[in-house]
């Protein structure tokens, strides 16, 4: 199941928006392969008709009322921002269509 290649690692890093260096990819790929091999054991477990569990708690229908709750001031919201302008978050130029 799990022969993870260097190219795949590079592609995944791309999807995850991490600029891995060549050296990092070289180091990571074999480590991941080892981990994935260990994980492979689950392929043998019979799971037909077993429902997946996404939550340990059997809760459903947790809603809140449609009533305004106090939030943050703009100052608080922008406090940690690397850059701001006009009370907005300043971000570098965005590529691609909006």
């Amino acid at each position: 199941m799990s022969d993870i290649t260097r190219d795949e690692v590079a592609h995944l890093a791309d999807l995850a928006r991490i600029d891995l260096s060549e050296a990092e990819i070289d180091k990571l790929a074999p480590q991941l392969a080892v981990i994935l091999e260990a994980i492979d054991s689950i392929a043998d477990v019979a799971t037909d008709d077993i429902p997946p569990t996404s939550h340990a708690v059997p809760l459903t229908n947790v809603f809140r009322e449609d009533v305004v709750r106090p939030g943050l001031t703009a100052e608080q919201a922008l406090a940690g921002a690397p850059a701001t302008e006009d009370q907005r978050f300043l971000v570098p130029r965005i590529l691609g269509e909006d």
């Binding site: 939550h55 449609d66 922008l78 006009d86 009370q87 907005r88 300043l90 965005i94 269509e97």
Partner: protein
Amino acid sequence: MMDFDEALEQFDPALGLEVHVELNTATKMFCGCPAAFGGEPNTHVCPTCLGLPGSMPVVNGKAVESAIRIGLALNCSIAEWCRFARKNYFYPDMPKNFQTSQYDEPIAFDGYLDVDVEGETFRVEIERAHMEEDTGKSTHVGGTTGRIHGAEYSLVDYNRAGIPLIEIVTRPIVGAGVKAPLVARAYVQQLRDLILALGVSEARMDQGNLRADVNLSLAPKGSDRLGTRSETKNVNSFRSVERAVRYEISRHAAILAAGDAVVQETRHWHEDTGITTSGREKSDAEDYRYFPEPDLVPVAPSAQWVEELRGTLPENPTAKRARLQAEWGFSDLEMRDTVGAGALGLVEETIAAGAAPQAARKWWLSELARRANEEGVELSDLAITPAQVARIQALVDEGKVNDKLARQVFDGVLAGEGEPDAVVEARGLAIVSDDGALSAAVDDAIAANPDVAEKIRGGKVAAAGALIGAVMKQMRGQADAGRVRELILEKLGAGEG
């Protein structure tokens, strides 16, 4: 580009429409921040909609209720159990770099909307309606167009991030043939009417609370495969929907006829130039890695709740149209034109405000439709309300103004000068009902046109028209033409028998 009709001879179009409805709840989908339009940037935010580390979502029950009602109104099945899912992708207007949405478990699915297209009913199948959250808004700075290309940097406001959206997705719409553009437009218009009737959204395309993405593909005539589709965004009006479909049909046809392949991509509609341009490639490289949202628990609407909500639905649109047509006494053609113009709701409200059906129809479909066309806007975007239209008609009925003057009252209201009565007052448009003034004007006209007066005295009553015209001109139109005619004939001794 291939000619549209020629394209339809060779190809069958398949349409897909994705409409996003912004709900009018008081608060956002997953937090208690105001969902109100406007506001100073980044003042309607909290840890949750800002996606701050450690923050968690809590579902707005009212949004779920609205979603279920939309689903029911679209004849959908309502999920007995469904979950939210994360759609993972990176973009600066997305605070978490994933959107909390629904993936393979939408709250509503397998429905339809019967759309009236030129008097015929066309059933548009609805694949699903699901809940999701809106993104923040970026403005692009630097560069020349204010658009993304060439911008130096962007400024992001997260007030809009987290506002509830319902996404409604149709199944591929096939078999519309040459009517495809009309079907697309009619679907969006009538979907909008339905949303308004439900009261769950302002549903205005020009304000972004109703957004449509148009998907189109062509297949060779008679083929049962679907062709490669393109998705067109930035379609901001009903008219744009129709035009974009027409354009894409022509564009695809030209490509296919040349033996090339259509690129699967997202395109951008330009209303000013009437074309689409290429945007991102809608490729599989964008792997959204959907998985169930672990911070939220499943939504399992009880059968009882769903039935309660079913009881709150407005009348079925097809049944309603039939009922209204009968009530109003419209012919099939008149009804069809009204629906086609997107004026059904407006006419209905105008009648509710007191106008007679034919009068309401007349104003909306002729006078106001003309103005809307001139300005390039939808009827509903005109700066006049049904109540105001009804008032203007009432003024005509009362004899305060005539039809011609009424048009000037429309001018005034549309120009923002105020309510109809105020406009009449300010512009001095009221019909002069004082016989003395009229009489004097009639005398003047008779004196100025002796030959015509002679003819009338001689029994040629039809000639009175010229004198009426002269009087109306002198009175600047502010006279009741019927009364003027009476006075002329009285004075010239040629009154009706």
